[in-house]
Symmetry: C2
Subunit: 343 residues, 2 copies
DNA sequence: ATCACTTAGCTAATCGATTAGCTCGGTTTG
DNA sequence: CAAACCGAGCTAATCGATTAGCTAAGTGAT
C-alpha cells in the first residue's frame, strides 16, 4: 500500500497539502490539487484508517453487543443495524454476550481497546453495567437497546413491553378465555418482567388472575419454551390460552402443542410478542404484537451517532416505541374449544 | 485514557520496558516488572489498539461479508463466526453485500481501509471478485465461504451441492415420485447451479427428467420462493414432489402450499437443502439435507487465521463438506397422494 | 519604497505504541 | 588486570496520518 508520503513525493508537494486535498481542510490551488489527485489515482492510494484513527482518536467502528446472536430476533437487529451504521459511514463490529454478564464485561473492555466510537448494547443481567464506567475516563457513547438496567445514564430505545403484553392478553380475554397461562422470559430482565406485568394487569382489569402453575418462566429460547410449554400443557387441567413472551418461544410452544397431539387454536390459543423473521410462513399464523424493529434500530443508530458527534452536550433520551397487535389465526373463541376437544 | 508514557513515568522506567512487560517480548527483572504491573493496574491502563495496529500493521479485525444478512442461514453463519473469531482473539466486522456486486466492491475496499487482517467472503455474482486484487499490493487473506467464483486463488469452504441435491431428490424418487419439480436458486451462483445439476443427475440416473415448466428459479428468499411456488403449483397439472434449493425457500414453498389449500405431504412432498434455525418447529418436519454449518464456519475461520499468520507460504486449500439427509415428514409415497387427494 | 497584512504551502511535532541499536555496569577469561 | 563479552534497560526512530505554526511571496495603503 502506498502512503501519504509516496503521494506527496510523486506529486511534488508536502504531506500537509495531500492531507488538505483529501480532507478538504484547507484551500489548495487548482493546479496542485489536480497533481495530487492524479498521484492518488495513479498510486491507488487510500489513507490508512489505522493512522487516521490514532491521530483523530476515533475508529469509524460501532460495536453491537447482543444478548443472544442465535436468537433470530437479534439477527434481525444485526441486519438492520449493519445497514443503518453503514449509511452513517461507520462499520459494525458484532459481539455476542450470550446472556452472560462476565462476557459482557469482557466485550465492553474489548470495545474500549478497539476504541470503537460507540456501542449499541442489549444489556445482560442487572445494573452491573455501569461499573465499567471509570470516573476518570470519558464515557463510551452508549445506547441501550430493548432492555434497560437500573440507574444508567445512557440513551435507551425500548418497546412498551407492558402494553405489548396487555394488548395480546386482552385479545385472548376478548375471545372469552378466562383460564389464561403464560410462558414468560427471565424475570430479572425488563423485557421478561414487563411482559408478565402487562399480562397480569390485563387480567386484573377483568377481575381475573392466572393460576400460579399456569405461569412459567424460562429463557428466551426455543428449546426452553418447548419444555416449559410441555410441562405446562401436560397438566391434567390446563389453560385454554397462552400468552408467550417472545416469538422464538412461541415457536417452541407451538412445537410442544403439536407434539402433545393438541391443536392450535382449537385446543389452545396462543398469542405472543416480538415477531421473528420466517415466522410469517408458520401455520397457523401467530397472533402477536410486533415491534417496529427496523425503525427502532434506525433510531438507536441515529441517537448513537448524534451522541458520538455532540458528546455530553445532548441530554439523555429514552425513547419508547409502541408495539402493534397483528391478528393471525392462532387464537379461537373459548367456546370452540369445548365443542371440538372436550376435556 | 492513560498511555504507555504515563505508565512509564509512574513506574520510573522507559516505555520500552513497559512494552516489554506487556508483550513479554524481553526479559525484565522481577522488581521492575512488578513496579510496571502495579502502575498499569493503578492507572487502569490498556494499550491503544489503534497505536498497536499502526505499528504492527494489523488490526485484530476479521471481516465477514455475507450475501444476504436477512437470510437466517447467514445469520447463523454470523453467530458461528463471531464465536470462532473471538476464540482466536479477533473481532468480527459484519457487512452485507445484499447480493449486489457493486456493494461487494465497496465493502472490500472499506475492508482494506480498515486494514482488516482477513475476510470471510460469501462472494456475489461472477468472478468479478479478483479484480480488487491489485498486482502491487499484498493480497488480503481471504476465505470464500459457501460459494466460489471463477479462477480465484483464495481458500474455499463449500458444501457438496450436487450431492445434497442428489440425496434429497433420490429420497423423493425412492418414494415413487416421477413427476418431480424444483425451485432452484439463481443459476449463476454455484449453490444454485450445483443443486439443480444434482437434482437433474439424480433423475437422469433413473431415466427421468423434470418437465421444463416444473423447474423454476428465483432468488434465495422466502417471498421469491412463495410466488414461484404458487405459480408452479397453480398449474392444472402439477408435480407430486418438489426439491427446493434452500431452507428459506422451503418456508416460502410451504406457505404457498398452505395458501393454495394443498397439504404437505399428502398433496405435495417437499425436500430441501440447507436448514435454517427455527425450522425445527415447523410442522410437518422438513425432509432436508443439512449443512454442518458450525463446523464449516469454524474451519473457515481456522483457515483464515492460518493464512493471516503464515501468509502465502501455505498453498491454496479447497475444503468441501458433505451434507447429510435428515428425514422429516414432509414427503409421502406417491401412492398416498392419489388416495387422499385425487387430481 | 516601506510596512502591514494575507495566504498557499511547507516544516515538524504529535497521536501511542514497537523495536533496532546503544549504554553501562558486571562477569568471565587468558 | 585488561580485554572481551553479556544483558538489563534506555534512547530514539518509526508506523501513516493530522495540524499548529512558520515562511515567503503577493497585495495594497501610505
Amino acid at each position: 500500500m502506498s502512503t501519504i508520503k509516496d503521494v506527496a513525493r510523486s506529486a511534488g508537494v508536502s504531506t500537509a497539502t495531500v492531507s488538505a486535498v483529501i480532507n478538504d481542510s484547507a484551500y489548495v490551488s487548482p493546479a496542485l490539487r489536480a497533481r495530487v489527485l492524479a498521484a492518488i489515482r495513479e498510486l491507488n492510494y487510500s489513507p490508512s484508517l489505522a493512522a487516521q484513527n490514532l491521530k483523530r482518536g476515533r475508529s469509524q467502528l460501532i460495536a453491537l453487543v447482543v444478548a443472544d446472536l442465535a436468537n433470530p430476533f437479534f439477527s434481525r437487529v444485526v441486519w438492520a443495524a449493519e445497514a443503518a451504521v453503514a449509511a452513517w459511514g461507520y462499520s459494525l463490529v458484532v459481539f455476542n454476550s450470550d446472556e452472560k454478564p462476565e462476557a459482557e464485561q469482557r466485550i465492553l473492555s474489548r470495545v474500549r481497546m478497539l476504541s470503537c466510537d460507540g456501542v449499541l448494547l442489549v444489556p445482560v443481567g442487572d445494573s452491573t453495567k455501569h461499573l465499567q464506567r471509570e470516573p476518570d475516563e470519558r464515557p463510551l457513547p452508549t445506547v441501550l437497546f430493548g432492555r434497560t438496567v437500573e440507574d444508567d445514564r445512557s440513551d435507551t430505545i425500548t418497546i412498551d413491553n407492558i402494553s405489548a403484553a396487555r394488548q395480546a392478553t386482552e385479545y385472548l380475554l376478548d375471545l372469552g378465555h378466562t383460564r389464561v397461562g403464560s410462558i414468560t422470559g427471565p424475570l430479572h430482565l425488563t423485557t421478561g418482567r414487563g411482559r408478565l406485568d402487562g399480562m397480569l394487569t390485563a387480567m386484573k382489569a377483568r377481575g381475573l388472575a392466572p393460576e400460579p402453575r399456569d405461569v412459567r418462566s424460562g429463557e428466551f429460547r426455543e428449546d426452553a419454551a418447548y419444555s416449559v410449554a410441555r410441562s405446562l400443557l401436560e397438566q391434567p387441567d390446563r389453560p385454554t390460552a397462552l400468552y408467550v413472551a417472545s416469538g422464538l418461544m412461541a415457536l417452541g410452544a407451538m412445537r410442544a402443542i403439536a407434539d402433545l397431539g393438541l391443536r392450535c387454536p382449537a385446543d389452545i390459543s396462543i398469542a405472543s410478542t416480538d415477531t421473528i423473521p420466517g415466522i410469517g410462513g408458520l401455520r397457523p399464523r401467530l397472533t402477536r404484537t410486533e415491534h417496529p424493529l427496523v425503525d427502532m434500530t434506525n433510531e438507536a443508530v441515529r441517537l448513537l451517532v448524534d451522541r458520538i458527534r455532540r458528546g455530553a452536550e445532548v441530554e439523555q433520551r429514552n425513547i419508547v416505541f409502541q408495539p402493534s397487535l397483528v391478528v393471525g389465526d392462532s387464537c379461537a373463541p373459548v367456546g370452540l374449544r369445548d365443542s371440538q376437544s372436550p376435556r
